[in-house]
């Protein structure tokens, strides 16, 4: 996410680093680079102008010019302005005091409405709510079918009317069905549209007026270019959306659309879509995103993912074993799986400060496959082998290699690494970090 913008800004500031003091022309060249970076990141031109003006005004002030570390001051200002433009603090989805809460999903064709309707439903269900999805896209062939299949995957009921041609009726029926069956959140999926298609915009308005949604959510593709502003304004004029989901942010799109939409409409970005799987939906945090843009990593998101996916008791138990030097291969496997539950290693690496720029996708993918092989090797061991790796002799190694589809060398490598790790753990357990460093 936003990696390229991060690279660019770091480039600008590493040029300024070590000079001690900034001149007016330093500031100007920094501003030009920031402008170019933002434009290449698809931030809309009027928003870029607004942003660079604000940054420049502050950057030429005393707090920067007289500072001993002016580059850090500029970074801080850019960070603050980006955060401010993206809306300050995180905003959560509004729930109606009188259920059902009705959420209307809108967006251009192909922005990811249907997929994100399901992702949002899954998230709400995980929070203990009882969602119902309503298939109102009567235009795209098999769109209703798609929502039904997704509903099955996430175990959320779908209201659909096969052969329906009137989405307003389907939407109304859906709300009625939710009331009847005691569902407390209704997510209404609608047909995608082109901004200039007045007829389809009217249809969306008609659905909104019929269901009186608690929130209208606009799904915006993170890869959108300068058009993002036009799109946001068109939907704002027509249906007054309340929040945005930024989809497809797992690619290398720099996602300037996030800045544009927020700045132009004032409506917050609620969630970001970070993958094709139905659980790839995360809350949007403007401050974290700004930090990412500036190459400061996203440690908070990493911690949050760990909290969601790692069982605290398990983690404690393993930690105790580690300290005692009693870690078995079974524990190791379990830990590996815990970490992988948090998401692709590549994505996790991107969140660690300083790693984002270095970890190139390809290398990371290879790592992922190596971890697959480690899992396969350990899985091919018997329980007693996992508990006491010392008993693994030559013939056992051959059997394990064959069973896991790997080679004896790879098995040897893993065992050697594990042994070393155990030693390290023991030392850590005895004297903690200092004795380890002293060794």
């Amino acid at each position: 996410m936003f990696d390229a913008l991060t690279d660019k800004l770091q480039g600008v500031f590493s040029g300024l680093k070590g000079r001690g003091k900034l001149t007016e022309s330093d500031i100007d060249s920094a501003m030009r680079a920031i402008r170019l970076s933002l434009l290449e990141a698809d931030v809309s031109l009027p928003v870029v102008k607004q942003l660079t003006t604000a940054i420049k005004e502050r950057a030429t002030g005393d707090e920067v010019m007289s500072s001993i570390t002016p580059d850090q001051q500029v970074v801080k200002i850019v960070n603050e302005e980006l955060t401010r433009l993206m809306g300050g603090t995180n905003v959560s989805l509004a729930m109606s005091p009188t259920p059902p809460t009705v959420i209307l999903m809108a967006g251009l064709q192909g922005s990811g409405k249907t997929t994100h309707t399901a992702k949002l439903a899954r998230m709400l269900a995980a929070e203990g709510r009882a969602p119902l999805m309503v298939a109102c896209d009567v235009r795209r062939p098999a769109a209703m079918e798609q929502l039904a299949v997704l509903g099955e995957q996430i175990d959320v009921p779908v209201h659909r009317e096969d052969g329906a041609t009137n989405p307003v009726k389907v939407a109304k029926d859906g709300i009625a069905a939710a009331k009847r069956t005691g569902r407390d959140v209704v997510l209404v999926d609608t047909a995608g549209r082109l901004t200039i298609d007045a007829e389809m915009m009217d249809e969306l308005v008609a659905i909104r007026d019929a269901v009186k949604p608690t929130s209208v959510i606009l799904v915006v593709d993170a890869m959108t270019g300068q058009t993002a502003v036009d799109v946001a304004v068109a939907f704002q004029d027509a249906v007054q959306f309340d929040g945005v989901i930024l989809s497809k942010l797992d690619g290398d799109a720099r996602g300037g659309a996030a800045l544009s939409v927020r700045a132009v409409t004032g409506m917050p970005i609620l969630f970001v879509g970070t993958g094709e799987k139905v659980d790839a939906l995360e809350a949007f945090h403007p401050d974290r995103m700004a930090s990412r843009i500036l190459g400061m990593g996203d440690v908070l998101s990493l911690i949050e993912r760990a909290q969601q996916n790692v069982d605290v008791d398990d983690a404690k138990r393993i930690e105790e074993k580690m300290r005692g030097g009693n870690l078995t291969l079974d524990d190791f496997l379990e830990q590996l799986r815990q970490v992988r539950k948090m998401g692709p290693i590549g994505q996790l690496m991107g969140m660690i400060p300083g790693v984002g720029q270095q970890a190139k996708m390809k290398d990371v993918e290879i790592d992922e496959r190596r971890i697959d092989r480690v899992e396969a090797i350990i899985s091919s061991m018997t329980l007693s082998e996992r508990a006491r790796p010392d008993i693994i002799n030559g013939s056992r190694r051959r059997r394990i290699a064959e069973g896991s589809g790997t080679t004896v060398q790879e098995v040897n490598q893993l065992l050697a690494q594990f042994k070393q790790m155990q030693k390290l753990m023991k030392r850590m357990g005895k004297g903690g970090l200092p004795s380890m460093l002293g060794a």
Binding site: L194, I196, D221, M361
Partner: protein, 342 residues
């Protein structure tokens, strides 16, 4: 050629594929893709929220070439998603022409701009050659770019031109993608080769080509699941689908079309680059081109990779996919909406 014409634009497709035009089109005085262009202009004129149009109108109305005019031109190009590299180049080229006295007013600047863009995008009219054996076309792109719809319309057009078409439903990942394509195949009256969701896309591609050969098809079009270009494993899968297609028939696929959404910003360049690294992309399909979305990214892609635009789609209607017309494109995005036909 008029709006309601049932086979409007078919002649242009005949040209694209090097086929003989349908009888009803023969006596038409001009290429029918003008119909699409006209509709585009109408839609642009009717769109309300447009950031560029006032700027363009300002450029065209200017009596003299001033510094402000160059700034306005630069902004218009940026806002059309052309990217900084293309924008800077275009401004430099036109400044040079102005210095030599060939551009003297906003109006001549506008005409020089559309001329330069046309020249860059279309050295020759687009062409998708069809061979004797089935010609295999592989369609790729990111999620939501409009692959399935494009395939449906393409199949329909080819079928209208008397070609026997087989579609391979290779998007085995997205829920109901196969069903969506089946609806299109049904509308177009063409064969579809499919397996269930989750099936191996390579196997579907192989089967589709084999079925195409066995049934004496003229064209086999293979759909693929949408994938972001940074998803290494999925790009490897695409490479495999391409390889398997080649094993089913030597030389296949003969064409690889990359579908790009007109609203795409600078990420489109990354899409073209990384898809090209995985499979040999032979042409672009610019979809959802509605005048608000200007698709200037194809200029950046042309500049970096030299991949030509083959087809352009405006909307969901069957008439809304047309062979790419560089001049119509340039005029559609860089003529002021209020002005007449340039």
């Amino acid at each position: 050629m008029t709006e309601g014409s049932p086979d409007g634009g078919l002649g242009a497709f005949a040209e694209l594929f090097g086929l003989s035009p349908p009888a009803s089109e023969e006596d038409r005085p001009e290429p029918s893709r003008r119909g699409l262009f006209r509709r585009l202009r109408e839609s642009i004129a009717s769109s309300q929220s447009q950031a560029i149009s006032p700027q363009l109108a300002g450029i065209y109305q200017s009596a003299m070439v001033t510094d402000d005019l160059w700034d306005e031109l630069e902004e218009a190009l940026i806002m059309a998603d052309c990217g900084m590299a293309v924008t800077t180049e275009l401004v430099d080229v036109l400044r040079e022409e102005a210095a030599q006295g060939r551009i003297t007013s906003g109006d001549s600047l506008g005409r020089a701009l559309t001329g330069e863009i046309t020249r860059r995008l279309a050295p020759e009219p687009p062409h998708i050659g069809l061979g004797d054996e089935p010609t295999v076309i592989l369609v790729v792109g990111v999620n939501g770019s409009g692959k399935t719809t494009t395939i449906g319309k393409l199949a329909h057009r080819l079928s209208e031109l008397g070609q026997k078409v087989v579609i391979g439903a290779g998007d085995t990942f997205r829920a109901a993608a196969v069903e969506q394509l089946a609806v299109w195949a049904d509308r177009a009256g063409v064969d579809i080769v499919k397996q269930g969701q989750g099936a191996d896309p390579g196997a579907v591609a192989f089967d589709a080509v084999a079925a195409g050969r066995a049934r004496g098809a003229d064209v086999v079009i293979i759909d693929t699941a949408g994938r972001l270009q940074t998803q290494h494993n999925l790009m490897e899968e695409l490479r495999k689908v391409h390889g398997v297609t080649g094993r089913a028939m030597e030389g296949a696929p003969h064409h690889v079309l990359l579908v790009i959404d007109s609203t795409t910003g600078q990420n489109g360049l990354s899409q073209a680059q990384l898809f090209s690294e995985a499979v040999p992309v032979t042409g672009l399909v610019l979809t959802k081109f509605d005048g608000v979305a200007r698709g200037g990214i194809v200029l950046a892609i042309e500049r970096e990779l030299g991949i030509p635009v083959t087809l352009m789609g405006v909307g969901e209607g069957i008439d809304d996919l047309q062979p790419f017309d560089a001049r119509a494109f340039a005029e559609a995005i860089f003529s002021p909406a209020s002005g007449g036909d340039a």
